[in-house]
Amino acid sequence: MTAETLGQGFSWFIPGLIFVVFLYGHMRGVRIFEVFVEGAQEGFMMAVKLIPYLIGIYVAIGIFRESGAIDILVALLSPILKVIKAPTDALLLFIVRSLSGPAALSMTMEIFDQHGPDSFIGRLASTMLGSSDTTFYIIAVYFSSVGIRKTRYAIPLGILADFASFAASVYIVRKIFL
């Protein structure tokens, strides 16, 4: 099966999920429209809160890129980038991903703007964003919510998973889409 037909199969994913959710909700007698609006309202507030993050990241990356500073960083990192066979943007996204969810999302959108979502880096960024989470944030919030200060091996384990996700993303995107 080629990547193309595989991709086409996945286009059933979202319509299918929405169909199942609404059908099941209807069968269970959920007041679907009211409940939907309630959730959407929460989503609206969440997205509005995201705007300052987007502005910050877009401006920082815009300055970094347009000034030519990014070319210097690429030159400095090129030995590492050659080994892992990934573009600079991907490495930066990897670092930001485990620190801040909104920042990583903003960075991915910026990559889509610059290179297009169907470019190699666009697909790689999508895969990375989808397959990992904001490790440090989750660990900090979850542990502090119950007053735990000694986190033992939780952080190394989270970082291990992040590296695995990055390596797997680079491998699979190169394999399928190149």
Partner: protein, 196 residues
Amino acid sequence: MNFIFSFFILSGIIVAAANGRIDIITNAAMTAAGNAVQRAITLIGIVSLWLGIARVAEESGLIDILSRLIAPLFRWLFPSIPKGHPALGCILMNLSANMLGFGNAATPFGLKAMQELQRLNDKPDTATEAMCTFLAINTSSVTIVPATLIALRASAGSKNPSEIVGSVLFATTCSTLAAIVGDIVIRSFCRRRRKF
């Protein structure tokens, strides 16, 4: 994050100044700020739609069904939680919501799970094994339907926004497996040394 942010901006300004192209900075900053808000408008639509659907799934009990399906696996992953303890239920709900891409619906269950796990803890300031396992699986992200991502790609003009589902599934499985295996290895290592 603070360091990265200031690094991007400061080094950008320094490099532009060194190249004698300082005028670029003003332009780049203003254009970027405008673009960010334009993207944000699209994002508002996507996030609102998806959380609306997520709420319907939660209310109808669809997330409960998925939890019941994956329950047997989790008794094996969390041997230190007694059978029928509410902690297991919360963990299952949290991970099920995450799997469906409803990250926001997942957080309240996650925090509840931590409270329940804390009740099983003899040393209240130190993480238990079950907590570490739970967070390892949680942060490695078990996504089946990366919905927000697909919608974002679509809004950015992708020809086939869902084509990344396969690669996401592969990468997320690898990272979750790495987390589980790493957890088991560290846990048995700690038990043998009787400390940590």
